[in-house]
Structures are given as C-alpha cells and as structure tokens.
Amino acid sequence: MKKQKSEHELFIYKNRNRKIKIIVVQVLILICFLGLWELAAQLEWIDSFITSSPSRVIKMLGELKEQGLWKHIGTTLYECVIGFAVSTALGSLIAVALWWSDFLRKVLEPYIVVLNSLPKIALGPIIIIWVGADAKAIIMMTVLICIIVTIISTLGGLMATDEGKILLMRSMGATKRQILTKLVLPGSVPTFLSVLKINVGLAWVGTIMGEYLVSGAGLGYLIIYGGQVFKLDLVMTSTVILCFLAAVMYFAVALVERFFKKRSF
C-alpha cells in the first residue's frame, strides 16, 4: 500500500511540474516576443515608425489616458456587450421557436441559409441609413453577424436531442412544453455554452467592423483614425487593448461555463 501511495504522489508531482512548465514557457514566449520587438526597435533593425514598439505603446497609453481612453474603451465595450447579449438572447429564442414549429422551420430554412452566406458588412450602408450613424448602427451590425450563427448552432443542438429520450418522455405522457423544458433545453446546455464562446469572438468582429464603417469614438475608431494619420503607435496600442478586452470577455464566458457544469438542473 505504501508504495502505491508514493507512486500516486509521484504522479501528482509530475502532473503539477508539467503544468508549471507550460505556464513558464507561455510567459517566456511573451517576454521574448516583447523583448525582441523592443530590442529590434531600439537598435533600429526595424523602423519603429511603422512597427511601433512596446515602449512607444506604453507611452501612447499614457497619452491616451489624458485624451479619454476610458471613453473609447467604454464605447466599444458597451456596443460589444449589448450586441452580444441581444444576439445571443434573440437568436436562442428564435432557435427554440424553430424547434417548436416544424412548419416555420421548413419555411424559413432557405432564408436563413442565404442570410448566413451573405457577408453582413455588405449591409453596412443600409444599416447606417436605416438606424443612423451612431452606436445603434454598430450594435445592429454586431447583432446581424452573431444572430444567424446563434440560430443555426443552437437549433442544431436542440434538434440533436436523442429521439429515444423524446420517445420515453412521450410514453410517460409528457407535453411538448415539458419535453422542451425538461429534456431539450437542459440537454442543449453544452451547445449553448459553445455558442456563447463563438459569439464572444464574433461580437468583437461585428463591433470593430461597425466602428470602421461609422463611429466617433471607440477602439475601432482609434485604429482606423491611427491608420489614416499614419500613427502606428495608436493602432498598435488600441489593438493591444482589444486583445486584453477580448481575453477578459472570453474568461467571463468560461466562468459561466464552469458554473453550469457544476450544477444539475
């Protein structure tokens, strides 16, 4: 018995060691990348006017702070989160409606397929004219990009419910509503969580694309503006902030996922 225990301890030790190694290498890559970038810029191997550099990004951050950095971040974050929430909620509701009605699903199928393959950016001018050249247009763009994928993926999950389980519930005399709430919806939670993750990425695409088209503030605006006046420091800095925000939002969704995996319902 004693030998077995120590073997297990060895396993845990090895396992932990491996995890630490992975994190160390991950951090090292980041440091090397930033260090090399800075070094190359300092030694003028590359033209830091075009490539910027970590120190210039930090300097830019300081400047931006005085010029309403929080307003830009707030604007983009607001558009992205609202777009994400609306498209996820509305898309899921539509998916449930399509699951409920065979007829509706068959009727709408070709429309959804066409809308899915249509590049939503093509609708940009129409959106601007219809809803106005402000944050509403950007949210609209985000919703358009996310909602079709949400509907298709969620519906796919709902429809993939085990026929045998549906038969079991019907044989117990369950109503369609009971089949939905007790079987189909709880069974589709994994699909829903993966849809959330996909939507985080897509919501950022929609928001930034929307800001490229029309905006007076926001990170997308800063990137486009920086590109136009050839201020690559501004472009790089905004991109770095975007990376950071997208990561934070992804981890928030990961937390939601962990919450769902822990409880039964």
């Binding site: 045998g164 389980k165 038969l167 117990m172 005399g173 009971q178 007790k182 079987l183 039964s264």
Partner: protein, 250 residues
C-alpha cells in the same frame, strides 16, 4: 384479471412512396402477473405493437383495451422501457427516477417515499445523488427500470431492454430485472429477437410472422425454475429454444 386485450389490431404506415402494412389482425390478451415475450424476425413490427399499446400511435383497425378501458393516449398505466436506458445525464439518479411523477405533476411525499423504497430495495440508494455517467451499465438499466416503476404502471412494455449491454452483463441484468418485476408483481410484455432471452424470461411466448406481422403461434413455457439464470441450466431450455427457433425461422 385481464390487463390487456388486443382485438384484431392492424396498423398501416403511410409514406409518400407507399402504404406499408406493419401488423395485421393481432389478437392478444395478457392476464395479471403474466410475463409475455413477443418474438419474430427483425423488422416484423414488434416495436410497433408496443407503441400502439402505450398509446403513442393509434391503430388503423381493431381495438386495444387496458384494464377494460380503450387506450387513447400515453399515460401512467403502461411503463415503457427502451433498448438504451435513456437516463438524463444532467440529472442525478434520484431526479431521473422521479421524472415520470414530475411529468404528471405528482411529486407528493407518498410518491417520493415509494421511489425511495424502490431505490433502497434494489441497491441504488447510495447512488441516488450520483449522475448516470458514474454508474455501470447494469446499474443504469436497473435505474431505468425503477424510473418506469415509479409511476406504478399496470403493464411494463420492454423493448429489447438488454440489447445494448455486453453478454456477461446482459445475463445478470436480465436476472435482476426479472426478480424486480416479479417481486413488484408487475405484468410485463417483452419484445426481443433474442430467443434464449425470451425462453429464460417468459411464461408465454408469442411468435410473430414476418411483416405484416400476424400471430403465428403461442407457446406456454413450463420450465420449473425460479430465475432466468436457473432456467438456462435446465435441460428443457434447449428443447424450447429449438422449438421457438424453428417457428421463427420458417
């Protein structure tokens, strides 16, 4: 007492291409406490018969009565058990077992108490808070049977309930299920293509013909043994197997 009576029941499936006669003029009656097995070539409409009895489908002709009342829709008089256990992975064993009462909005203390008794009696009490993924195949099938029993059905409909299990487990689960059904004094109708399973379990075996299914012959199995496993050891077992096998094949 007569639990089930099927009188000249037939069913025709409609598809765009054609009409298919699945079963024709099935007449069958089951007494209280009987264990009946339906055997027949695969695709002969055995499952269709169970669907009709449970009220999931309506016959195109003939009548089906359960305890003297015609079957209109699925209800708690029949309990359907399928090939796979169909336990919901996100529910604990106890919650799975209470699914039926939950659907009937009847989660009274009495019903819960009965489910608890069943869990205790059949060795799943310690596992009531576990999830199906944490149980072995045999235990899962036992949980599925208890879920069916929680609604206190008069007639159990077993649709090849052991076919998804490996052979070793199948024999012991088969034994298990038989003992539970007998000790709960339930009436059961088993559908299977496994003749040895039918011979080891049933009091009466009904052989069906190929599609459209009609009742070909009925055999009363009189092997004197207390459990399916004991039956398999008896010498008559082989004889009965041969008889039924020949009847199904020709």
């Amino acid at each position: 007492m007569e639990i089930l009576k099927m009188n000249n029941v037939s069913l025709t499936y409609q598809t765009v291409e054609q009409e298919t006669k699945a079963i024709e003029n099935i007449t069958l009656s089951i007494e209280d406490g009987e264990f009946i097995a339906l055997v027949g070539p695969s695709g002969c409409g055995k499952t269709t018969i169970l669907s009709l009895i449970s009220g999931l489908m309506k016959p195109s002709g003939g009548t089906i009565t359960l305890m003297g009342k015609p079957v209109e829709r699925p209800g708690s008089e029949t309990g359907y058990m399928l090939q796979r256990d169909m336990l919901f992975e996100w529910r604990t064993i106890e919650k799975n077992i209470l699914l039926g009462p939950e659907i009937h909005r009847n989660l009274s203390d009495e019903v819960k108490g009965k489910a608890e008794d069943l869990l205790k009696k059949y060795g799943l009490w310690e596992f009531r808070d576990r999830y199906p993924g944490q149980l072995s195949g045999g235990m899962r099938q036992r949980a599925a049977l208890i879920r069916t029993l929680a609604l206190d059905p008069k007639l159990l409909l077993l649709d090849e309930p052991f076919s998804a299990l490996d052979f070793q487990t199948r024999l012991s689960v088969c034994n298990d299920v038989y003992e539970i059904i007998k000790s709960e004094k339930k009436t059961a109708l088993l559908v299977t293509h496994d003749i040895s399973e039918a011979v080891s379990l049933a009091d009466r075996i009904v052989v069906l013909s190929a599609r459209p299914a009609v009742v070909k012959k009925t055999f009363v199995i009189d092997i004197d043994a207390p459990t399916p496993l004991k039956r398999r050891e008896k010498s008559e077992f082989g004889k009965w197997f041969d008889t039924i096998w020949k009847e199904v094949s020709v």
